[in-house]
Amino acid sequence: MIIALTTDHAGFDALKELKVFLQDLGHECVDYGPTQFDADDDYPVYIFPAAHAVAEGTCQRAIIMGGSGQGEAMAANRVPGVRAALFYGPVTAKVAVDAEGTMSDDPYEIIKLSRQHNDANVLSLSGRFLSLDEMKYALKLWLDTPFSGAPRHIRRIDKLDSVSL
């Protein structure tokens, strides 16, 4: 896959490691910066170009990172066609995870669900809350999990970009 990568200062070091990890898995990475560490840089400057690359199809996916990952996901989701999911740690669902009543004790279930249900094409990682091993595990799982294609999920995804004020 062609994957856009970007972060603000909070993910600067970790993203370099993830780039190598993704390349080792056989993916092509397009680096949207920053090229130098700047503790005062502003995430929207980096996130918007990567998000647009996904929306326009230049890249199939984007991995974005920040301190909590929340602001980065906010910025990416401003762009129609982008579906940015947030991940900041393993958590186990307490009730069934789908309409069929499937139970799961997988702490990475939310990563899979973001692909199966939301067809997420951007993953926003929390640089402060995740270890590198957690990021790598989540990344590979996220890239390997297909969208379910269920009509109800397709309908909701369509509505993401068609419901207006």
């Binding site: 929207p44 579906r83 999911a85 669902a93 809350f129």
Partner: protein, 151 residues
């Protein structure tokens, strides 16, 4: 503070509980639906209803709460709209950051992953944590609504 709340079928029960809980806490809460539990309803419509209510309300401190199973889709839907800064509320640390750094005005609650005690902790943290107002955070928030159009 005035709070608009909405949920799909996976968040319907928790929404009813939270409307009660917030009203007892003295908050003004407006339920934007769904009014009944429809297992086949689609979350983006409730995100749009809450966002629209927020955008047209003249009050100075307006917030939104959106509830689904995982919270992710609601945040995608809400963040499509300018002026909205929706976070996914997995734990207290991250909503504290979202309020302090991002002046987050919409809380998306992943009902499936939290028990009620956790929900209350996250909700209270989100309600009580002020935006820091730091110039660098203000600058980034402005960019969220301005920069997207330029690129």
């Amino acid at each position: 503070m005035k709070i608009f709340i909405g949920a799909d079928h996976n968040g319907y029960d928790l929404k009813a509980t939270l409307v009660d809980y917030l009203k007892r806490g003295g908050y003004e809460v407006i339920d934007e639906g769904d009014a009944e539990k429809h297992p086949d309803d689609d979350f983006p419509q409730f995100a749009a209803k809450v966002v629209q209510a927020m955008a047209t309300d003249p009050s100075s401190d307006v917030r939104g709460i959106l509830i689904t199973g995982g919270g992710q889709g609601m945040a995608m839907a809400a963040n499509r709209f300018k002026g909205i800064r929706a976070c996914v509320g997995w734990n207290q640390d991250t909503v504290r950051d979202a309020r302090n750094d991002n002046d987050c005005n919409v809380l998306c609650i992943p009902a499936r992953n939290l028990d009620f005690e956790q929900v209350v902790g996250i909700l209270q943290t989100w309600l009580m944590t002020p935006f820091s107002g730091a110039p660098r955070y203000k600058r980034r928030i402005e960019m969220l609504d301005e920069l997207g159009d330029l690129l």
